[in-house]
């Protein structure tokens, strides 16, 4: 029993990271399910992390309020970005969200209130396994139920052929906007949860590199089902730990796995979708 406890303490952060990264992967899924590409998940996550930390540390607000604010703030930012970019097709959303990430990173770096380059420390441990995995289960269930409904069909129609979806009476811009806002809220939630188990956040955590990592969860797992990104997040979070003995080669092996999946399973690990068979 003691050995088990030790094991848990040693890998506690990994255990929490698996759950939070799965939530972040689902936040990515919300946009890629509509064929959109956002590289702003890390930025939205950062907003949630800083807002959440400010709420609990500086303002002494309850954790529930902190989490709510951490979801609402990135949602508002997403709405502001969405209005000019979602009417355009292609990579405009991706470019705008990369820009957002950079702007915010510089903002955090230069804000003494947020700890600047030294980071924001002393965030209380409020997020435990129950909260993280409870929220993950709830979000995953909601996604699974939505996927198998008229809303899921509309999202898939948009992903497969935007113009055809429009002439079928689907409000494509409205759907994209809702998805982006939802996605930002979930990323913000992930960020706040992350801040409240790691106790420390710094501007570097929410840059372009992390945005690509979150995207790769969805790419590796596949977007045919919300289970794909969750699987992708689990694998890409656990692998670096399991491959720790390889030291410098870890990144290489990690990259190799993604390349191999892209070559042999271009639709991701869970690329085969379940079709309605009556």
């Amino acid at each position: 029993m003691e050995a088990l406890d030790d094991l848990f303490w040693a890998y506690q952060d990994l255990f929490y990271s698996l759950g939070v990264n799965a939530i972040l992967a689902l936040s990515m899924y919300a946009v890629v399910a509509l064929g959109q590409l956002s590289l702003g998940q890390a930025a939205f996550m950062g907003i949630g992390a800083y807002i959440g930390a400010v709420a609990t540390v500086k303002l002494g607000l309850p954790f529930v309020v902190a989490l709510s604010a951490a979801m609402a703030a990135p949602a508002v930012v997403a709405a502001l970005i969405g209005v000019p970019t979602l009417r355009l097709t292609g990579v405009y959303l991706a470019i705008a969200t990369i820009g957002l990430g950079e702007v915010l990173r510089i903002l955090y770096l230069n804000s003494d209130y947020l700890g600047g380059a030294l980071g924001f420390s002393g965030i209380p441990h409020k997020a435990d396994g129950w909260i993280i995995y409870g929220l993950l289960a709830l979000i995953l269930l909601a996604f699974l139920l939505i996927t198998r409904s008229r809303v899921g069909r509309a999202c898939e129609a948009i992903r497969e052929d935007e113009d055809a979806a429009k002439v079928m009476g689907i409000n494509v811009t409205g759907y994209k906007m809702t998805a982006l806002i939802l996605s930002a809220a979930l990323a913000g939630l992930g960020g706040a949860l992350n801040a409240h188990f790691s106790s420390f956040i710094s501007p570097g955590e929410f840059g372009f590199e992390n945005a690509v990592t979150i995207l790769s969860y969805a790419v590796l797992g596949g977007v045919a089902s919300p289970l794909g990104p969750v699987l992708g997040a689990f694998l890409l979070t656990a692998l670096p730990e399991l491959l720790r003995s390889l030291h410098g080669l870890r990144g290489v092996v990690n990259g190799l796995i993604i390349v191999l999946v892209m070559i042999f399973l271009p639709k991701g690990l869970l690329g085969r979708r379940v079709r309605r068979t009556l």
């Binding site: 898939e156 497969e160 052929d161 079709r275």
Partner: protein
């Protein structure tokens, strides 16, 4: 208030220096099959894109059921009764055949999101009804046996019929068909003609672009001929068939002149 279902009034659309559609006007009567014909590049597909709302016109007005819809978003037009198919089939390839048709019902599925999420009785009933109606439509176009198949796996002619079933799922009062018989064999074309006649019999108005002249002439109540973006003739099929401008547009002025000379002698 006019009795026309669709009225296109002086519609123009330019792409750079090219006037793809140039001051085109015509009207579709309720319950009629109206064909738009013309050589390749005459502007037929652009016209369809303007009517369905995918492309805004540079100038002119579109009226539908007494309402000006020129600036109405595409998805709203589907909700008020305009549905269409595409020249290069655009079904949703990874969905099942049944799901494709059910996607066409989007304007009619109204169960609130919370009910959909919690699978409340009203939402389940609506989904169940949608499946039944989709199956009935598939039966109508002869695809009921393939309901569970992946749409991309269907044969070409079947994909065309699936696209028509999906368009009908929106319960349109005006159906736009962009070259529905393209790539079909003669038997399939006859089947399509019978299907469309049945739909017209049920009160549906159909506006179609088609190159198969036997198909157009046999089915249409009214024909509008476009050439270089302009209307060069508009009338009953019998009149269009002998219109000098139409013959010239299709066969060139030399052949047209020879035919005219032969007819005169």
């Amino acid at each position: 208030m006019s009795a026309k279902l669709l009225e296109v009034q002086s519609i123009s659309r330019s792409f750079g220096a090219l006037r793809a559609v140039d001051e085109v006007s015509f009207a579709v009567e309720p319950g009629q099959v109206h064909a738009v014909i013309g050589p390749n590049g005459a502007g037929k597909t652009t016209l369809f894109n303007i009517i369905s709302g995918l492309v805004p016109p540079t100038s002119g007005q579109v009226q539908f059921a007494g309402q000006t819809i020129t600036t109405l978003p595409c998805y709203r037009r589907a909700q008020i009764g305009i549905s269409r198919t595409f020249q290069n089939i655009r079904i949703f390839p990874e969905m099942s055949v049944l799901e494709n048709v059910m996607t066409g019902m989007t304007p009619w599925l109204r169960a609130p999101l919370i009910g959909v999420l919690l699978r409340l009785p009203a939402a389940r009933r609506e989904e169940h009804d949608a499946i039944n109606r989709a199956m009935a439509l598939l039966d109508k176009v002869g695809l009921a046996a393939q309901a569970a198949a992946r749409a991309a796996d269907l044969a070409y002619g079947d994909q065309r019929r699936l696209e028509i079933a999906r368009a009908l799922a929106a319960r349109p009062s005006l159906l736009l068909l962009d070259e529905p018989a393209a790539g079909m064999n003669p038997t399939e074309t006859i089947g399509l003609s019978v299907l469309l006649q049945g739909l017209r019999g049920g009160g549906l108005s159909i506006l179609l672009v088609e190159h198969d002249m036997a198909f157009v002439m046999g089915l249409s109540d009214q024909v509008t001929v476009l050439n270089f973006g302009r209307v060069i003739a508009d009338g009953r099929p019998a009149a269009i068939r002998h219109d000098a401008l139409v013959i010239e547009a299709y066969l060139g002025h030399k052949v047209a002149a020879r035919l005219a000379a032969e007819a005169g002698s």
